[in-house]
């Protein structure tokens, strides 16, 4: 349905010849898609809830689209409707006017309550989750697999049908992490962790991204999420573990420098506890435990070198 409408519009309404060519997707490109094309139970339930609300809301919306044209026609100046300029109240109407929305909101509220708890991003989705630690940076995401001892940059491999438990923080400004086809978004904030539980039941590649504006590289801050069966995932882990690159504090500090990344990176080994050290950098009293003040100010100056330096006062 979505595709048909889209292409009908592309071809008929716009008829831009170059567009048809441009629109042919490169084979490896992953495009944005929303919860309409859910690839996991959480996103599917979110879309289902979306549809439920719309159908309930039609109870109050549809009458308006019927009543307004009818009233306009019947009571237009010169129309057949009787003119009662002093009629301004009726208890029966009043009961319906307040009663129907109240009942409707009670129904919607109970659905909201249940759904909000059932699909709370913090709620585990099953036993033996795959743990992944996410650090949002300018303008890329770092994924650490503590159980596997590997890490990636801008590439998220997930095991199909296995609950995923993400623990997120930010090494920079606040961002919002989201893979629309799998689950909703959650903010990432420096010095704090948030959680997101999700499950992917369809093999495939999905686009994930930051949705909270964070500067010049925001528009392209996205990553490929690959959902693969267990065997393939295990192979991928072994393959990645063979990678000679190490993610340690020095590598991390280099990554703190804002950059737009086009190619994912893979780290075969990760310093244990790196995620906690990222967190600890912002904790009051323990701040920058492993950097001298001079180093810290250096890091800070590196943050946004593209900005106009004339206002830069530390």
């Amino acid at each position: 349905m979505k595709g048909i409408i889209t292409w009908a519009l592309v071809v008929s309404a716009l008829s831009l010849p170059t567009l048809a060519q441009a629109a042919l997707p490169a084979e490896t490109q992953v495009y944005s898609a929303g919860f309409i094309d859910a690839a996991g139970p959480v996103a599917a339930a979110q879309f289902e809830h979306f549809q439920t609300i719309i159908s309930l809301m039609l109870i109050v919306v549809v009458p308006i689209f019927i009543l307004v044209p009818w009233v306009l026609w019947r009571y237009r100046r010169g129309g057949r409707g009787a003119y009662r300029p002093d009629w301004d109240f009726n208890w029966g109407n009043e009961a319906v006017l307040w009663g129907v929305p109240i009942v409707l909101i009670i129904i919607l509220s109970s659905a909201l309550w249940a759904h909000t708890h059932k699909y709370d991003p913090y709620r585990p989705l099953g036993n033996d989750p795959l743990d992944i630690e996410v650090v949002s940076l300018d303008w890329k995401f770092l994924f650490i697999y503590p159980q596997q001892g590997i890490a990636t940059l801008d590439y998220l491999a997930l095991e199909q049908d296995r609950p995923i438990r993400l623990k997120l923080t930010s090494g920079t400004v606040m961002q919002s992490f989201m893979i629309p086809q799998l689950a909703g978004q959650i903010y990432t904030m420096a010095g704090m962790t948030t959680q997101l539980n999700l499950l992917a039941d369809q093999e495939g590649e999905y686009l994930g991204r930051n949705t909270q504006y964070n500067g010049d590289g925001f528009a392209t801050q996205s990553f490929r999420t690959a959902v693969m069966p267990k065997s393939q995932f295990d192979n991928w882990v072994i393959h990645t573990q063979k990678n000679t690159q190490t993610l340690d504090l020095a590598t991390y500090e280099a990554l703190l420098k804002p950059s737009i990344e086009h190619v994912p990176r893979y780290y075969g080994t990760v310093d244990a506890g790196l995620f906690n050290r990222v967190l600890a950098r912002f904790t009051a009293g323990h701040a920058h435990a492993d950097s001298t003040p001079a180093e810290v100010s250096q890091i800070r100056e590196h943050h946004h070198p593209q900005n106009n330096p004339k206002g830069a006062e530390q």
Binding site: A22, H49, Y83, P121, G311
Partner: protein, 708 residues
């Protein structure tokens, strides 16, 4: 003395024109063009004022005036000028997104960031706010039978603070850059560490000036509504626009303060090395999010409620019928106002709080849907058993009823945390709030201008051009924003300077087409004003009642005299003027006239405006001597004012009597026109009663209409 002592961080490179010369690019040329428009516009205004010798009248009759009517008009002029800028910015952003399919487009990412920030900041603080404030200023005192607001000078100061903020944001087009942090300015991105330039400072000070101005306005209007109602005007006899003004004023008093606090705290972070909202050292940006939305959510109702008041006035006037469910509408308005303080957290369901917290705020949000829904049905029932005239304001009203409920539906969707997790920060959200603000608030203000313009200027606006504007604005809105719902549901985030998904292209193209229609409709509105000024003789309605109005403002001449009411009216029910016309009480000479005491003009407000502008400009550029001087002058002016003994002037009864009796004589001598001739040159502003017989009886006109 060094350059920095005198000019702070201001340098030749700060000028937007230098950038275009040094690093020529499309993006810089756009900035160059925008800066040039501001400079040329300012020069053109100065030349015009000089050539026409208007400086004196401008200063005497307008800038130093404390008349609520003139202040109201000046607010709306600011709103319209700023609207043009922010609308053009929206068009530029739309065209950038259209050009930026799988490429960089023509704007730099940084420039795009400034555009969406200024667009949002201007539309909220310098279009919607001055528009509603100007309207409330103009209409509310007239509707309650008052001669002015409670604190006329304070009113002028509020205006000048808003003007100073608007001036600052205009200057940022020429000197320096603006923030890229969005209208909500979330730290730590807007902190000194990540946004070291002057941009965020421009945002902080322009928003701070506007918010202080609005706080003062809220206090002023609330007191006016409590204390200045004419005899007999009980609270429950006030026109609904006054009720919505009261609720909005109360919201302003309580809601603007958290914003002022938040921006000042952010300023302390940036200027004085505090750590309220920084990443480390104990700062916490979540506090900013809470403070900002503690303002931000009531703010949307600050904007919406006056517009809902306008809709109530428009519908009952053009239907020629009492508003249905007055009491219901009042309680619904109060419910919305109170509830609006309990829902702010729905702007960040995604910040990681517990499901209980999210669910409670989600439900609170949905509850607001109840009174809002009641209002929509009340307006439909007002039209029911009425006699509907499809005038331009009514077209906007009907469009509002139909599109607003769709926006309400998407609002209920967004109130559900599970759905919000998906569409938060997406174009779906953009579509939702534009769906509420454009047909609800903006078109409400346009309808209000069509409706009250003849009151303010003594001639009607050209109906044909008004309808033309409607027929491009209404479809323009649908085309510009409904595609964004779809894009948001398909994972398109807001604020992207470029994108790569071919499926988005047709929808963005439709949105561009919508933006063009919105621009065209706005041009039609400007043409309408121009044409109406040229045809002002045919359109003149000096007798003050072109629409067979129902409330007190229609009982006085158009434009009204400085003192509004020659004799303070006495009312004994709702729809006071309709009742007076029905009972033959309208246009009667009062028993006696007496002297009227009116506030004198004062240069205090413009001086405060000028020096708060220099104060904030100096703060932005760290020109410390100017900060000190401006601060001293502002408070010096305030102190000096307290020594002025003569703040009121007496208008003699004889002058009032002469003017008012002349008006009454003309009104009595002129035959009223029926609603059939409402848009014809015969309409001089005296209405013929459009009602025969009593309700419940079969009346001659009913029979007549059935025959037709």
């Amino acid at each position: 003395m060094s350059w920095e002592t005198i000019f702070g961080q201001l340098g030749w490179d700060s000028l937007v024109f230098t950038g275009a010369i040094k690093h020529p690019s499309a993006s810089e040329f756009v900035a160059f063009g925008a800066g040039s428009i501001v400079v040329l516009g300012a020069v053109a205004v100065v030349v015009l004022l000089t050539v026409m010798r208007w400086w004196g009248p401008l200063w005497r009759d307008w800038l130093t005036s404390v008349d609520h009517k003139k202040i109201g008009i000046m607010y709306i002029v600011i709103a319209l000028v700023m609207f043009l800028r922010a609308l053009i910015e929206a068009g530029v952003m739309r065209s950038q997104q259209l050009a930026a399919y799988d490429s960089a487009g023509y704007l730099s990412a940084d420039h795009f960031g400034q555009l969406f920030t200024t667009h949002g900041t201007i539309m909220i603080f310098f279009v919607a706010m001055p528009f509603i404030t100007g309207l409330m200023n103009y209409v509310m005192p007239l509707q309650i039978g008052a001669r002015d607001v409670s604190f006329p000078l304070l009113n002028a100061i509020s205006l000048m603070l808003t003007a100073a903020g608007a001036g600052l944001i205009m200057v940022s087009l020429v000197v320096g850059e603006f923030s890229t942090g969005g209208w909500s300015g979330y730290p730590p991105f807007t902190g000194i560490e990540f946004s070291p330039g002057e941009g965020v400072d421009y945002w902080i000070w322009s928003v701070t000036l506007a918010s202080i101005g609005s706080t003062l306005t809220g206090l002023n209007f609330a007191v006016t509504l409590y204390k200045k109602r004419c005899p007999g005007m009980d609270m429950f006899r006030m026109p609904l626009f006054c009720w919505t003004t009261l609720c909005t004023s109360i919201l302003m008093i309580f809601a603007m303060a958290p914003l002022t606090v938040a921006t000042i705290m952010l300023a302390l972070d940036r200027y004085a090395g505090f750590h309220f909202f920084t990443n480390g050292d104990g700062g916490n940006m979540m506090n900013f999010a809470n403070l900002f939305w503690l303002f931000g959510h009531p703010e949307v109702y600050i904007l919406l409620l006056p517009a809902l008041g306008v809709w109530s006035e428009v519908v009952s006037t053009f239907v020629g019928k009492r508003i249905y469910g007055y009491t219901s509408l009042v309680y619904a308005t109060m419910c919305i106002a109170v509830l609006s303080f309990g829902v702010w957290l729905h702007h960040f369901f995604t910040m990681g709080q517990s499901a209980n917290v999210n669910a409670i705020f989600g439900i609170a949000t949905m509850i607001i849907g109840i009174p809002t829904g009641v209002k929509v049905y009340d307006w439909i029932l007002t039209m029911f058993r009425g006699r509907i005239r499809i005038t331009t304001p009514m077209l906007f009203h009907i469009n509002f009823l139909l599109t607003f409920v769709l926006g309400g539906m998407t609002g209920i969707l967004l109130a559900n945390p599970t759905v919000d997790f998906q569409v938060h920060n997406s174009l779906f959200l953009i579509a939702h709030f534009h769906n509420m603000i454009i047909p609800g608030v903006l078109f409400g203000m346009f309808a209000a201008v069509q409706y009250w313009f003849p009151k303010a200027f003594g001639f009607r606006l050209h109906e044909g051009w008004g309808k033309a504007a409607f027929w491009s604005l209404a479809p323009g809105f649908l085309l510009a924003f409904f595609p964004l719902y779809w894009l948001g549901m398909n994972g398109a985030p807001r604020r992207t300077v470029m994108w790569a998904d071919p499926a988005f292209y047709p929808w963005l193209a439709l949105a561009m087409l919508g933006a063009v229609l919105l621009l065209v409709g706005t041009v039609f509105l400007l043409v309408q004003i121009g044409v109406s000024i040229r045809q002002r003789r045919q359109l003149a309605v000096p007798l003050g009642d072109p629409w067979d109005g129902r409330s007190l403002e229609w009982s006085i001449p158009s434009p009204p005299p400085a003192w509004n009411f020659a004799v303070v009216p006495q009312v004994d029910g709702r729809d006071a003027f309709t009742e007076a016309k029905k009972n033959g009480q309208a246009y009667r000479s009062p028993a006696a006239y007496s002297d009227i005491e009116m506030p004198c003009n004062s240069m205090v407000a413009p001086l405060i405006g000028i020096f708060t502008f220099t104060l904030s400009f100096a703060l932005v550029w760290h020109i410390w001597w100017l900060v000190v001087v401006s601060f001293i002058v502002v408070w010096g002016v305030v102190i000096a004012r307290s020594f002025v003994a003569q703040t009121n002037e007496i208008i003699p009864a004889s002058r009032i009597e002469a003017e008012h009796e002349a008006f009454l004589a003309a009104a009595r001598a002129t035959p009223g026109v029926t609603r059939d001739l409402e848009m014809s040159p015969q309409n001089r502003g005296k209405a013929a009663p459009d009602r025969l017989g009593q309700p419940g009886q079969k009346r001659p006109d009913d029979v007549l209409e059935s025959a037709i």
